[in-house]
Symmetry: C2
Subunit: 613 residues, 2 copies
């Protein structure tokens, strides 16, 4: 146990949200303590769906390739309905994710595996500690002082009200959350060695409540849970099916007179089944979990296809909708802001943008969940008869792929999102129209999309997102256009010199050290000239920083050229970049904060200066 | 230390060759002991180039994605020459690897990292043990008995003649190989904990000599080293350069009046420099290694560009050519054969094919090395003046990319490569011509190429090579053609039934268990029909094996269709597969052993029967 009892951040809860927040703290070197009630991570059940944006986020921490390999990719969705004679019939098979949004489609992997990957990263950092089997007992705060270096929040802890003996006996820890009740067959469970008696007083600058639906932290703040709770139960089974059903490796929705069922193919030949169950059965199950009762319901809905299993891996009855992806995306939004305030880079005001940005997302998600459930619940006759219901369900499924997946989320103007139309005193053009012509697919407030580019120096293929890893660093992505054209190169050189001048806000931001990173803003040039026509010394200096020990950096210039084996060369076209180029200031979470023409240097200055501390 | 002193295989030497052989033994569950002279793996220097085929091999063991991420990909080669006025001039920039051969181009990574990845895999297996700091003392054998279960080779060992104290002091172990002498700055070196006194007697079925150029095992067998040794020295430096040279991140050859130099960009901003040095300097260096003398030579050749470094990571003077890739490819060829003989799947006769297949490759490589050196050594005036020399050098560089890279290697007919033209008693056609029309790019004796396919059931993208992991298993890859056409489907179904009959050699091979695998031949169907037109029950049973506990297998059928996001759908076209289809029996090392029309079932039977034990 640490000797010091002062932390910058205390995170309560080590679920997906808490672990993602901790991942940011680990990456940016913020002194952090995570408190988790459970003595060990649960290995089975719970969420299993990873949306495109969540994978992009994991990728930005270097975790996606491993997770992607383990996960099952859900490429297709197949809809089955009863015909009027009651026979089961395949209605249509279509792509499960809309192509073009993210290079990662939807995929499935046990929530516990995702948590383990995050934990591995967190545990490799010296700035984050985890205490398991611990709950907070009290939280007091005194904000009367203005001194930001002090730690105004006092927390005390106690052992979680769980006897480790009992834990060992059942080898499983029941979730105290009343909305679910699990019968599980954990593959392996070990009690964490850090489990110990503690009764410390701990001081913190910030506390993040990631303690789930029944949050203790929220209670302490006198806040109440928003949103209606749905009074409808779903059964959930994880198993390896032995079945004659032909589409078992596709995501399927079966809408039948005797119930609605969803199949989700998982990693390692597993399948997750969600299905409607009568409330009476749900209540019975909660008293005495009997997975076979659930299996029988599934078998009825699957008829005439056989559907057996030699082992049910996990089962539960369950009341609510999605959550893991959005909760991780929430934490991703919050983490860098907190780290940059703690490191003194940005003004604490930017913390307000967390609520401004994520609350509307949560509202839209709850609304979407309702519509999805409605589509699933609607009687098969109504579904078949009315185009309306079917259309609205289809629409909801598609929004699930863009909005809920997080790739289509866009934030409105705030402290760290420049207003789309600011009057530009230099260029004096009607800027709303001009911004539109700068780029069709780059949007202020949205995450920057990714695509293939070639490193200017060695022709290696990069994804644009690979240039924007989650390190707490901002990035100025300069689309310099065809710099083999002299006028265009001059424009980019001017920008480079402007940014380089000693009193530029860009340089001020650059010299702030965020956590483990060298500089807190980086400049990247993406040009559209033929690579071989641009000589090293032509490249404006800001894009090839020099160091005495390591020479020039060769990771700052990229060409929108086709590779020798036929990839790439489409960024300017698909992003719809104006030939005169443009620049995008990208936040540490890959969202575009500012978008401007290359000459809008004053606007850029003003915007950066407005959030610098 | 193990209690039993009986092993199926003893491998002497844990360099790339020994480790790759051990990887096969680990994968196939063969009881193996590796003996290595060094107390610990050396962390710096030696080979750094990974060719396409080597990466494919590593990929087949599941190691490539990690290695690929760590390595630096060498996309371009840039040739620089003196102009007649003595000024340095870029002659041309071209792709470093010929596209179309392998999805992996050439890349560079420290030999030690490659060894570490192999070691991690080996150490995760319970069938392979490693003893370090140990050398064989004697090797006796008695082959008088015919009993294959006995262990006719007796080995004794002793501690390597190296004082661990001294090792610790220098933290570096000099290679006893007289052709090189290294001054290194190891990043971290630890003495292996298994270092201990041993004087056991060990009995083995087979011994593999992987103990390098001065092999003790070879000496014991009274064999001598073949091939001429070159009397020419190269200096080698690993460093992070601080330079104004513009092409530093490309592979470069500089042919100048004051010497020839090769730059190889490496992982983590490092660069490897090879350069000609006078014999006198080499001999001086061997007496007293002074890396700065080597650096000065480089600086002279690099003029007028500046070339400094803050630290030389490794330096040596070095006499010979390539070796790591071919030595790993040799071991890859041998390993599965040995495992399958030990497991009783195939007749011991197939072991002879190792020499038959790999000796010609070694000869061609030595010849190529000579031509490469000649091209490098040729005076710059001769090089510039005669098209001949330049052309032959260019030719040699290109062969390096195909032949030396291993992707273009093809084995002649032998016990495990069917003759191209066997008289087919059923079809009675002039088969030489017919074989040519079956497929233009599949070739008996060559490795099967890879390309993108879609899993029939869930539309996930697979590389063809992903279906052929190195497990010791053979694969019958059936190109079934457009099976939405009834006649074509009937043809494939006939084949399926034929293979399934109880006395088929295919079924006999299938029921042999190789190591950890369930079956030692697998059947894969690649069809060209539109996926959605083929129903589950249409698919011939041999491609969807059923098990009581796990249901049907969904990894045996693939479609040559374009994915929703535009990949794949080109295998039939690029492989030039006849619309009537064909079948390729692929060996455990991904080389095509047999190629036939779908109806050539008797030929297939005869071929399999000929090597079955
Ligand atoms: C059957 C099932 C299926 C689901 N399927 C999906 C799906 O497909 N897609 C999806 O996106 N989501 C899904 N979800 C929801 C998903 O699991 C949750 O939304 C997600 O786990 C929420 O993450 P979180 O970190 O916010 O909260 P939680 O995962 O609930 O984590 C909270 C953590 O805080 C700890 N904790 C609670 N109170 C305290 C305290 N006082 N002190 C210390 N620690 C405390 C808890 O032990 C827990 O580890 C599913 C959930 C279930 C149960
Ligand atoms: C500077 C340099 C650059 C190179 N560059 C390249 C390149 O770019 N590309 C390329 O393909 N190759 C290159 N090579 C060659 C490459 O390193 C060797 O070809 C390769 O290591 C050969 O692998 P191996 O396993 O056959 O032998 P080795 O790597 O020599 O391994 C033999 C092992 O056996 C051990 N051993 C020896 N004798 C005994 C004994 N009696 N008992 C027990 N153990 C013993 C040794 O300690 C050693 O670990 C380079 C080599 C050097 C030195």
């Amino acid at each position: 146990m640490a000797s010091t009892l002062v932390y910058d951040v205390v995170i309560v809860g080590a679920g997906p949200a808490g672990l993602l927040a901790a991942t940011w703290m680990a990456r940016t070197g913020v002194k952090t303590l995570i408190i988790e009630k459970r003595a060990s991570q649960s290995r089975v059940g719970r969420a299993d769906g990873l949306e495109g944006r969540t994978l992009e986020i994991l990728d930005s921490f270097g975790l996606a390739s491993q997770i992607w390999k383990e996960a099952n990719q859900t490429i297709e969705i197949s809809i089955w309905c009863d015909l009027s004679d009651g026979s089961l019939h395949r209605h249509r098979v279509s792509p499960n994710t809309e192509p073009g949004w993210s290079r990662f489609g939807e995929s499935t992997l046990a929530q516990s595996r995702i948590e383990e990957h995050l934990l591995t990263l967190i545990e490799s950092s010296s700035s984050v500690e985890i205490r398991r089997g611990t709950v907070p007992k009290s939280m007091d705060y005194n904000f009367s002082t203005n001194d930001e270096t002090c730690h105004p929040i006092k927390l005390t802890f106690s052992n979680a009200n769980e006897d480790p003996q009992i834990l060992r006996k059942y080898e499983y820890q029941e979730d105290s959350d009343s909305s679910m009740s699990d019968a599980s067959h954990p593959r392996s469970l070990s009690l964490d060695s850090t489990y110990s008696e503690i009764d410390d007083e701990i001081y913190a600058k910030y506390v993040i409540g990631c303690d789930g639906a029944h949050s203790w932290v929220r209670q302490q703040l006198g806040l109440t849970l928003e949103g209606e709770s749905v009074d409808e139960y779903w059964g959930v089974l994880d198993l390896i099916p032995v079945t004659s059903f032909p589409d078992i490796r596709k995501r399927c929705i079966l809408k039948r007179r005797n119930g609605t069922l969803m199949l989700i193919p998982r990693e390692q030949s597993m399948v997750r089944v969600y299905f409607q169950i009568p409330n009476a059965i749900a209540i019975e199950y909660k008293k005495q979990p009997c997975p076979n009762v659930l299996l029988q319901i599934v078998q009825l809905i699957m008829q005439p296809y056989s559907f057996r299993t030699s082992q049910i891996d996990w089962s539960t009855v369950y009341q609510a909708g999605q959550g893991m992806n959005v909760s991780m995306q929430d934490a991703y939004n919050l983490g860098w802001k907190l780290a940059s305030v703690i490191h003194g880079v940005t003004t604490p005001e930017i913390l307000k943008t967390y609520h401004e940005e994520r609350h509307p997302v949560a509202e839209r998600l709850m609304n979407l969940d309702k519509r999805l459930c409605q589509g699933m619940r609607s009687s098969v006759d109504a579904y078949n008869a009315t185009d309306d219901i079917r259309h609205s369900h289809k629409q909801a499924l598609s929004e699930e792929n863009t909005l809920a997946a997080g790739v289509a989320v866009s934030y409105a103007a705030n402290k760290v999102v420049a207003p789309i139309c600011t009057q530009d005193p230099v260029v004096q053009a009607p800027c709303q129209a001009r911004k539109a012509s700068i780029s069709k697919r780059l949007q202020v407030g949205s995450r920057i999309p990714s695509d293939v580019l070639l490193n200017h120096y060695d022709a290696q293929r990069w994804e644009l997102h690979d240039m924007l890893p989650s390190t707490g660093q901002w990035n100025l992505v300069v689309f310099g256009g065809d710099i083999s054209n002299k006028a265009q190169l001059t424009q980019v050189s001017h920008l480079s010199e402007w940014l380089h001048r000693s009193d530029s806000p860009f340089r001020q931001l650059r010299s702030r050290r965020v956590g483990l990173m060298m500089e807190s803003v980086n400049a990247v040039l993406i040009h559209s000239a033929p690579r071989k026509e641009i000589e090293f010394l032509d490249i404006p200096e800001i894009f090839r920083p020099y160091s005495e020990n390591f020479g020039y950096s060769y990771c700052g210039v990229f060409a929108d050229n086709v590779s020798y084996d036929g990839h790439g060369g489409k960024v300017y076209e698909t992003f719809g970049i104006d030939p005169r180029g443009c620049m995008a200031l990208v936040r540490p979470d890959q969202h575009v904060a500012f978008l401007g023409a290359l000459e809008e240097v004053h606007e850029l200055d003003r915007f950066i200066a407005s959030f610098l501390k």
